[in-house]
Amino acid sequence: MNEIRFTLNRKETTYAGSAADRLLEVLRDSYDMKSVKCGCKEGECGACAVLIDGVLINSCCVAMGAVDGHEIMTVEGFRETEQFAALSKAFAELSAVQCGFCIPGMILAAQSVLSKNAHPTEDEVREGLSGNICRCTGYNAIVNAVLNAAKEGDGLW
């Protein structure tokens, strides 16, 4: 490989560093995508989750070489969308954001759930968020917010 070309938040990008570099660190340090949080670096918390080709993946578990030719979306890009606005509103209405550290990953997990299934059941939402640890909320507010977003944002997904 000579260079790594990928799309970051809808923009064509070329990364000239090592293919073995961790996506999490590259996003934070080289592209200043600080919404991507480092909670464990072992794929066990979901705070660093991003969407790769619309699919939720922990960026701590991805080497840069693997993103060549793919589309990455972080909250910096996702926050420009109507779906984000619907999710944010629903989260705000239930005060589902406490310390906030899990939230960017959680929002992308929610998007990942709804993009596959616009009308999920509570169990499906819980399953979809199950790799995103939140220590503050007990999850009820977050799960209900996703369900409300699905209801009120009907048609967006």
């Binding site: 260079e3 073995a20 939720l56 993946i57 701590c60 578990c61 080497a63 070489g65």
Partner: protein, 270 residues
């Protein structure tokens, strides 16, 4: 970029593998946790040939770079395999983790390997010089050690169709309801004709390695379900006495007791 190869075809990949010292990279979910310094990866994640799920007259064929999520969406993948991979970690890991990686890293807790073992799965390995298809039993040596050669890559997992069609038993015990590594798990497929066991397989997570006790399984074949269940303790013991359990996140005693209970449950539900 200096270190890293991203071949477009499997042919190209095995060529690189034969000349360079590279680490095959499929999903990254285990590799990146190990985070080896100065690793040179051979990225296999976009090679179409190993991203297919197909079938032929004999096998369901799952490409090494197929992710668990993709398998869950496939009509071809047998239910036992689906159930096993559906309980791996959480969506973000299942979206990246692959069948090739699961078996290739030699983990003794790999859920897809457990299911494959129970179904007499085989691994198709390719190299510049050719290919070979070997049973899971031969591929998995012990924890962290497989039978892959330095110039080989895993191309596919093959699941025999007759086993895929059989009823199965599966139970996983993790530490919690999601994001849980199997502490203990049991998988098996079986066939009962007119009350007589015509085929049975059984394999577990908890021994520190994957094994089939084919001679014990053979003892059950030909017996009636009634006979086995009437002497259930003896049949459970046939397996349990052969097994050795490892201590780790849980004690060996726990593993032994729970696997004993699960074997009993399995045989009682035939």
């Amino acid at each position: 970029m200096v270190n890293g190869y991203k071949p477009a075809t499997l042919r190209e990949a095995v060529d690189i593998r034969s000349r360079e010292s590279v680490i095959p990279y499929a999903g990254g979910t285990d590799l990146m946790v190990q985070n080896k310094a100065n690793a040179v990866y051979l990225f296999l994640n976009d090679i179409d040939e190993i991203r297919q799920i197909a079938d032929d007259s004999e096998y369901i064929r799952i490409g090494a770079a197929v992710t668990f999520t993709e398998a869950l969406a496939s009509d071809l993948v047998p239910q036992l395999m689906k159930e096993a991979v559906s309980k791996i970690a959480a969506p973000a890991i299942r979206n990246a983790g692959t069948f090739g990686g699961n078996i290739g890293n030699g983990s003794d807790k790999a859920d897809s390997v457990l299911a494959g073992f129970a179904m007499d799965g085989r691994v198709r390995l390719v190299s510049a010089g050719g290919e070979r298809v070997i049973p899971f039993d031969d591929f998995c040596v012990r924890r962290g050690v497989t039978n892959i050669k330095d110039d080989e890559l895993i191309a596919e997992i093959l699941l025999p169709k007759d086993k895929c069609a059989m009823p199965y038993y599966y139970h996983k015990v993790g530490g919690r309801n999601a994001l849980a590594i199997s502490r203990v798990a049991l998988a098996g497929v079986y066939d009962v004709q007119d009350g007589v066991i015509s085929y049975i397989s059984l394999t577990v997570i908890g021994e520190g390695k994957f094994t089939r006790y084919r001679d014990v399984e053979a003892e059950l074949i030909g017996k009636t379900v009634e006979e086995v269940q009437a002497h259930i303790d003896d049949y459970v013991r046939l397996f349990i006495d052969r097994m050795t359990f490892t201590r780790g996140r849980v004690s060996a005693e726990y593993r032994k007791t729970v696997i004993g209970n699960l074997i009993r449950d399995y045989l009682m539900t035939l």
